[in-house]
């Protein structure tokens, strides 16, 4: 029997892919969370389209509360981890010009060399960081 979490993962993944497919075929855009957010934040390309997309991502989960309640985020409360992690994710994805949705979902599916390499590197760095900090130093 397949664990329920995997099925929910697959179902949510299909929804993410369907959203990316519609954004591509209807609007002609690549659905990358970093790219859409980044263009708004540093003012390099602020558009209503980006703003509407971000509003959808932030507001849609609020409707879930009516059906199932919010799932637990289990996020750390350690401010040093939150700040270091946030800075690294923001700076890293902006330098690489893509994140899990842009390089991962949209890049791999078009066999983009940059998307595939970026994904291999951030996965490798994530595995390594987790191995060192959780099992080596016992932090996380």
């Amino acid at each position: 029997m397949i664990p329920l979490d995997w099925l929910f993962g697959l179902m949510g993944g299909l929804m993410i892919g369907a959203a990316a497919a519609m954004y591509l075929l209807i609007s002609g855009r690549i659905m990358g969370a970093l790219g859409i957010l980044g263009g708004l934040i540093d003012g390099s390309n602020p558009t209503w389209e980006r703003f509407a997309f971000i509003a959808g991502v932030i507001l849609a989960p609020l409707t879930m509360n009516a059906f199932a309640g919010y799932p637990d985020t289990n996020i750390t409360t350690n401010p040093a981890l939150l700040i270091a992690g946030g800075l690294a994710v923001g700076l890293g994805t902006r330098l690489a010009n893509g994140c899990t949705s842009g390089h991962g979902v949209c890049g791999i599916s078009r066999f983009s060399k940059r998307g595939i390499i970026a994904t291999l590197i951030y996965l490798g760095a994530g595995f390594l960081t987790m191995a060192v900090l959780r099992h080596g130093l016992g932090w996380l």
Binding site: G12, A21, M22, L24, W48, P61, N74, G85, I108, R134
Partner: protein, 142 residues
Amino acid sequence: MMRALTALFCGALFGLGLLISGMTDTAKVQGWLDLFGDWDPTLAFVLGGAILPMLAAWRIAAQRSQSRLGSPMPSPPDPTLDRRLIGGSALFGIGWALVGLCPGPALAVLAWGGPSTAIFFGAMVAGMLLARLPALRTKAPQ
């Protein structure tokens, strides 16, 4: 108007997909990165599930001269591998492991995730702005 509505709908579907798939649960994401511990393979199903519709979408896009709303399709992928891509991705992977959030889920939890998610989001925005430092700057992303 149609453009903004499409974006709002796609954003909402993306956000709900992130929630349903468990990607807003940092313990699950850190569990996926914990190859040498109690490994949680859920994220592979999420990524696989998301790539499937996109494989079809890129094939359809290749046969169209423009999108439904009349804008050009994205240009072919840039093959350049540079230090920004490699170093940036490595830095991203480290930060991803530290907290268990990447940019999409960081947005999707913002409205209900409490103060920790707000601190993470603030730091992420600061990190994005740091990338504008002259020493790190090159061409703007598309």
